[in-house]
């Protein structure tokens, strides 16, 4: 398609979801819509002795069912999730990539921690037995680029390949990156993030995050926007999506699920959540400006919802700064309160949830949260039916990044 870059719009045509509350679009949306919480005590092997008790685990995932053995042995669990999610997304999009020029299909992932479980196993071989016991796949399984590389090879995708590592916010930055690839000539990009941070040594590494919830009670461990907020609960899993150039997608009669309108990113230092108020507000402002969208067009907000009082306050104030008096009436939600934050994967799951919300005209609730202590219209307890055209997705990284992404329901389909 020789359309000028500025006119090459990016649309979402497929969702691939591997989440603690459900695998595949239907299971995920059902659980998300109903506000089910699956946060629970951690059961992964060797993970029960730490002052981090509660997480969102993807317990139903059987890698052998979804990914060929030869790819499984070369890769960590985070890439297992990524490959499985990419398959689901491609099926969902009904994209016949084998009929497309290989160099016009790209892959972009965000990665927050890489193949920690695989890496720990190989470290144990090295230090417990000796250098010659380290296997041939350590060099390709642990590093942050593993999932992008394997998805590219497994699918035969030779287009632009990228990996951004700006922790949680990277999950949104990846979509900006994919949109750039589309503007510059790619017809389709498999984009998203999956994480697998629940291995013993990875857990030990996360214990240093002051924002981590150390609660032992799954019902109280992650209560964003409440006075009881005591931090975030980590999770594994994530989502991969298929995005396409709009004209190409429409030409093949693809189901256009949402338009990726605009993205903004800023930085306001790690652990300085008070400053993220301005950072988020400016990221939202930039995303709206690039979307050609006014603040009063926002119909729903998928919040970052870090779950500390200070960070939640900054987010509520940022929304008030951007949306003005209307802020108290725009529905805000945080489905991740029911399944945890899978770092970059959390933002990708929020994008998927936002697409489903736009389609269904339904804002899913924030699980387990009832008493909201900030001045915003947080959807709690039950889903809210409302006409939705434009969604704003927010994400912040523990190292100081703020990102905003604006999605819109395709025209003529309301």
């Amino acid at each position: 398609m020789n359309i000028p870059a500025a006119e090459r719009r990016t649309v979402i045509t497929g969702l691939g979801i591997i989440a603690p509350n459900g695998m595949g679009t239907d299971a995920f949306w059902k659980a998300t819509r109903e506000g089910v919480s699956v946060l629970d005590r951690i059961t992964r092997e060797g993970c029960d002795g730490y002052p981090l008790r509660v997480a969102g685990e993807v317990r139903a995932f059987d890698p052998g069912v979804m990914v060929e053995e030869r790819f499984l042995v070369q890769t960590d669990r985070f890439s297992h999730f990524a490959m499985a999610a990419a398959d689901l997304a491609l099926q969902n999009a009904q994209l016949r990539t084998e009929e497309m020029p290989a160099h016009r299909v790209g892959v972009v992932t965000a990665a927050g921690s890489g193949g920690g479980e695989f890496g720990q196993r190989e470290l144990q071989r090295l230090w417990g037995k000796g250098p010659s016991y380290v296997g041939p796949y350590q060099s390709i399984a642990w590093f942050y680029a593993a999932s992008t590389g394997q998805i590219s090879i497994r699918g035969g995708f030779k287009g632009p390949c990228g990996v951004v590592a700006s922790d949680e916010a990277g999950g949104l930055d990846a979509f900006a990156h994919a949109a750039r690839s589309i503007r510059n000539g790619a017809d389709a990009v498999v984009v998203g993030a999956t994480e697998a941070p629940l291995a013993p040594y990875s857990m030990v590494c996360q214990l240093g995050y002051p924002e981590l919830s150390r609660s032992e009670d799954p019902e109280r461990a992650y209560l964003p926007f409440t006075a009881e907020a005591c931090g975030f609960v980590p999770a594994e899993g994530g989502a991969m999506l298929v995005v396409e150039e709009e004209a190409a997608a429409r030409a093949r009669g693809a189901p256009v699920r949402a338009v990726v309108l605009g993205h903004g990113a800023t930085f306001t230092r790690s652990s300085r959540w008070d400053r993220s108020r301005e950072g988020l507000a400016r990221a939202i402002g930039a995303a709206l400006e690039r979307s050609g969208c006014a603040p009063n067009e926002i119909d729903v907000v998928f919040a970052d919802a870090l779950g500390t009082v200070e960070a939640d306050r900054a987010e509520a104030l940022a929304l008030a700064d951007v949306l003005g008096p209307r802020a108290a009436r725009v529905p805000v939600t945080a489905p991740k309160a029911g399944f945890g934050r899978a770092y970059g994967g959390a933002a990708a799951l929020d994008v998927a949830a936002a697409v489903l919300a736009l389609e269904h005209g339904t804002v899913p609730p924030t699980p387990r949260v009832t008493d909201v202590c900030h001045d915003l219209d947080l959807v709690t307890c039950r889903p809210r039916g409302v006409e939705l055209r434009t969604a704003l997705v927010l994400s912040r990284g523990l190292m100081g990044s703020n990102a905003a992404l604006v999605l819109r329901r395709p025209e003529g389909e309301i």
Binding site: G46, C47, D48, P51, Q74, A102, H103, G112, S113, G114, G119, Q120, E122, L123, Q124, R125, L126, W127, G128, P131, V134, G135, Q138, S139, W142, F143, Y144, A145, G149, S152, I153, G156, K158, G159, P160, C161, G162, A165, S166, D167, G170, H177, Y201, V204, C205, Q206, L207, G208, Y209, A265, T266, F267, T268, R269, S270, Y343, G397, L398, M399, G400
Partner: protein, 422 residues
Amino acid sequence: MTRRVAVTGVGVVAPGGVGVPAFWDMLTAGRTATRGITLFDPAGFRSRIAAECDFDAAAFGLSPQEVARADRYVQFAMVAADEAIRDSGLEPGAQDPWRTGVSLGTAVGGTTRLEHDYVRVSGEGERWDVDHRRAGPFLERAFTPSVLASAVAERFGVHGAVQTVSTGCTSGLDAIGYAFQAIEEDLADVYIAGASDSPISPITVACFDAIRATSPNNDDPEHASRPFDARRDGFVMGEGAAVLVLEELEHARARGVDPYCEISGFATFGNAYHMTGLTREGLEMSMAIDTALDHARIASCDIDYVNAHGSGTKQNDRHETAAVKRSLGEHAYRTPMSSIKSMVGHSLGAIGAIEVAACTLAMARGVVPPTANYEDPDPECDLDYVPKTAREARLRRVLSVGSGFGGFQSAVVMSRDGGRSR
């Protein structure tokens, strides 16, 4: 109107000498910094050689607190960024911090610190359920690679987009490429862009031993990195960082700065072939070169110098030679093409940025750095690799290419029209 992207500052931490003067001196002398590993005891490993940085963080102004908090690779990046900012003449607070971004690459991030603490918490690999009480402070900052860009952004009060890029061994080229695109697209006016890695630790050495990617020439380390030479037997691991200040051209001119050169084109593709293997034909690298040239609106016959990936593995060097010939045609035989990995080793994610720094200096100073150790021609590698000795040449259009695990192939095109020599 197209926004152009200038390079206005360079900073380097490389094996053989920290800082641009030492780096340039080494490259033009054709000296090699490869040696027996001293950062840990390499007994029992297949490859026991590396290009290490003699790096004293305190001597470069990092406080004990900064040293405790930052991994070695982050320290490298901070020191390289200090030099690049100083070189650019940018004053803190003099430009809009919300229009300034950071894009830094790393392939393996904090693995050296991760391994160090792992040994303690696991009792040297005794237990799977490692003991968290024995972990050192700031371990979480080794866990997530976004720390790299974050630490540099905090140091310079940056508030724009801040991103770590981690596409394996093309991380450095890609991080610079993304920054270039962001300025071109008017998302920012200034970027601190580059890459850093400090991978010389037992686990990383062991993982390349396992696939025989690194040179086992332990008896002659200074001649072990032999890109394009018939007797090459693998890459020699390196470490280091390079950081560039990229600036929208008019922004640089408005403050009276004469840039080194411009970044004019960038492209990256996957080969979808193999995580570590390369084809003989180099089609996808060639496509990256063609697309980057196209982006830069520069004809392939105008390229004056190719800075090669040139890792010194059997397959890489013939793959890359084929790719360059495919893109440049007959002009490839007339174009000098050298690999500085012969001198500074292969610092994984960092090297792409170090190579772009080398190109920047080469253009400004009119000197092509050589390929050290090049002696015996390989029939499959039949281009002009600038053996051993640096060469004076007017360089107006330069291409730098990279290949990485995952099958990634990237190309950056740089240009210089007039300007002050520096």
